[in-house]
């Protein structure tokens, strides 16, 4: 009975989203309804995380089909931590949404798409079946296709075409890769694949399939050189939708890489994980240069997704428990701070009326609180102590040094400086300087934007200042990922 817990984070938003269709035009009701249901879902997820922390992984054999034959849902510490972070981000976004979206956008099923996106993301984190992972990828992508064109502006339609095409292509490649793997190992259950790949000692064909998986997930996660599609589609929709995308979508790709390359393809690390380290280095360099290349503040934040993904890949590439802990910590940190930054930049764009940095100055005189919050998030993002970015980077670089990867550690530090420069540039040019008398400050609107962002920043600061409390559990996740036997055993115990 207790194993049914694992399905709740998928079922609650799914039903909530479907029911939201029924009263999509009654905005007052649907807003409160969505906020309450997101809160309930967050509560349930917190309880499951607590339960898993106390009693170990919860495994649900869907429909009582035993493990290798049916679909399994696995709620372990890693997946539940990420689902909880997803819900925290969702909570901030759902309270921000009514202030930022137009009435037409809200009426056009925003809340349904939003819940389906959460369903897909949570499902992808929880599932223990490779084909099911593909299905949940499609669920979240379908919701994101709906969200990206919400409003139907010229730019949105243009950019969403590219977004849908690249995702459709990589999904088809995903299916093909699963077919390859199925023909070799004869199963799609991740635990059993891991077992069989271990027995076969990962021959050449399996390594090739591993690289194909890397290509598929790398496209979703926006790694060098597959990130070219990312920045522009991400800034086309409304800021709250950008925040959901920036916080959640690429992270699902990274999570899949983390799972697949800590569990299944771990025997030919000279080929696969060595490749990751160099790709991570290039992603870091090109992503942070991209962030410096533009004056559009939304684009700066969108480009900043890319070096973060590089950092996380670095933790997977070094392959030791410190590296894995760093990746998990950084995933949590990055989901929260990316959402906060997108929401902040959205607020600035809304209040100033442009996202061009050259047309802003002296905003701190009008919106002091917004300015200082942006300042703090810049520090969190770049990894200045005592905030969460610092701890994440510290652990990751420690992992790199433990594995004797000094060069990549130096590249990581260098790119952190570029990231700091790219966001502080917004602060210096946009917020400092002479007061711009032509702006009539809209304090009331600004207050509405501040609360959800403050909520997210609270978690960022808490993760950094309270690292002593959180780090032991994250470290245990790192150890757990280093020993995939535990995962395999918890699923195939009979």
């Amino acid at each position: 009975m207790i194993s049914n817990l694992a399905v709740l984070p998928i079922v609650i938003p799914l039903i909530a989203g479907v029911l939201a269709i029924l009263f999509h035009k009654k905005l007052k009701i649907v807003r409160v309804y969505s906020q309450v249901l997101t809160l309930i879902n967050t509560g349930v997820v917190t309880y499951i995380l607590f339960y898993v922390h106390q009693n170990g992984s919860v495994v649900l054999q869907a429909g009582d089909w035993m493990a290798p034959f049916g679909i399994v849902l696995v709620a372990d510490m890693l997946s539940m931590t990420l689902v909880l972070t997803t819900n925290i981000v969702a909570l901030a976004c759902i309270f921000y949404a009514p202030k930022s979206l137009s009435i037409k956008q809200e009426e056009f099923y925003f809340y349904t798409f939003y819940f389906l996106l959460i369903t897909g993301v949570s499902g992808a984190f929880i599932t223990g079946d490779l084909f099911n992972l593909f299905v949940f990828f499609e669920v979240l992508l379908m919701a994101s296709y709906g969200l990206i064109v919400l409003g139907g502006e010229k730019v949105q339609l243009r950019e969403s075409m590219k977004y849908v095409l690249i995702n459709l292509f990589s999904s088809m490649l995903f299916v093909t890769t699963i077919a390859f793997l199925y023909s070799v190992v004869g199963t799609v259950n991740m635990a059993q694949i891991a077992e069989r790949v271990g027995e076969a000692e990962q021959t050449g064909i399996l390594t090739t399939i591993g690289i194909l998986f890397f290509f598929v997930f790398g496209t979703k996660a926006a790694l060098f050189p597959l990130y070219y599609w990312l920045p522009k589609p991400y800034i086309a929709p409304n800021p709250v939708i950008s925040a959901l995308f920036g916080a959640l979508l690429t992270k699902v790709g990274i999570y899949s890489l983390l799972r697949v390359f800590s569990l299944i393809f771990v025997y030919e690390r000279d080929v696969t994980h060595e490749l990751f380290i160099w790709i991570a280095a290039l992603t870091l360099i090109f992503g942070s240069i991209g962030a410096l290349s533009t004056n559009n503040i939304k684009l700066v934040v969108a480009y900043n997704i890319i070096p973060a993904v590089g950092f996380m890949l670095l933790g997977i590439g070094v392959y030791n428990s410190t590296g894995f802990s760093g990746t998990v910590y950084y995933l949590v940190h990055d989901m929260i701070i990316k959402a906060a930054l997108f929401l902040l930049v959205g607020a600035i764009t809304y209040l100033v009326g442009t996202s061009d940095l050259r047309k802003m100055r002296g905003l701190i005189h009008h919106y002091p609180l917004l300015g200082w919050m942006f300042f703090i998030s810049a520090f969190v993002l770049a990894g200045i102590p005592p905030f969460s970015g610092f701890i994440g980077k510290l652990v990751l670089l420690q992992g790199a040094i433990e594995a004797d990867r000094i060069v990549i550690a130096i590249i990581g530090l260098g790119s952190s400086l570029l990231i700091l420069l790219s966001v502080l540039r917004i602060f210096i040019r946009g917020f400092w300087g002479e007061k711009d008398e032509s702006i009539i400050p809209d304090r009331k609107a600004a207050r509405g934007f501040i609360l959800p962002v403050a909520f997210l920043l609270f978690f960022s600061v808490l993760l950094g200042v309270g690292a002593e409390w959180f780090y032991p559990s994250i470290e245990s996740i790192g150890d757990y990922l280093m020993n995939p036997e535990n995962y395999i055993e918890s699923i195939l115990k009979e």
Binding site: F131, F134, V135, E138, M142, Y145, V149, G152, E153, K154, V155, L157, R158, E159, S160, M161, V164, L165, L168, F169, S171, M172, L173, V175, T176, I178, A179, F180, Y182, S183, V188, K232, I235, T294, N295, N296, L299, S355
Partner: protein, 112 residues
């Protein structure tokens, strides 16, 4: 038989990618449809092509057909069907709004 099917899947992939690299939106969509057909055919082939045996695995039954690839394909077909129809509507709206269906002209550099 598997070899022929694999070659057919390969041909579908090649033509799909050729179409994907064109500039006209409709051709690109046809390209993605061809690629998904190739992928589905490929899954079917990877589960070994057998006829005449029931998809049941029991103690005494030695000869059986693997039902899993068919279940996988069914899911995948439904998904790609949905995405393709969405893509067609999207392409129609995008070409109407932007006044062109040439991807070259839809690069978009104005918001740098």
């Amino acid at each position: 038989m598997e070899i022929i099917m694999s070659i057919l899947a390969g041909v579908l992939f090649t033509t799909g990618i050729y179409n994907l690299l064109q500039k006209q939106m409709l051709r690109i969509i046809i390209g993605t449809a061809l690629i998904s057909h190739g992928a589905h055919l490929f899954i079917l082939t990877m589960g070994e092509l057998k006829t005449g045996a029931p998809p049941i695995l029991e103690e005494n039954i030695k000869n059986y057909t693997d039902p899993l690839p068919q279940a996988l394909i069914l899911t995948s077909i439904v998904i790609s069907f949905g995405v393709t129809s969405l893509l067609l509507v999207l392409a129609y709206r995008a070409s109407k709004e932007n006044g062109t269906d040439n991807m070259e002209k839809l690069r978009g550099n104005e918001n740098d």
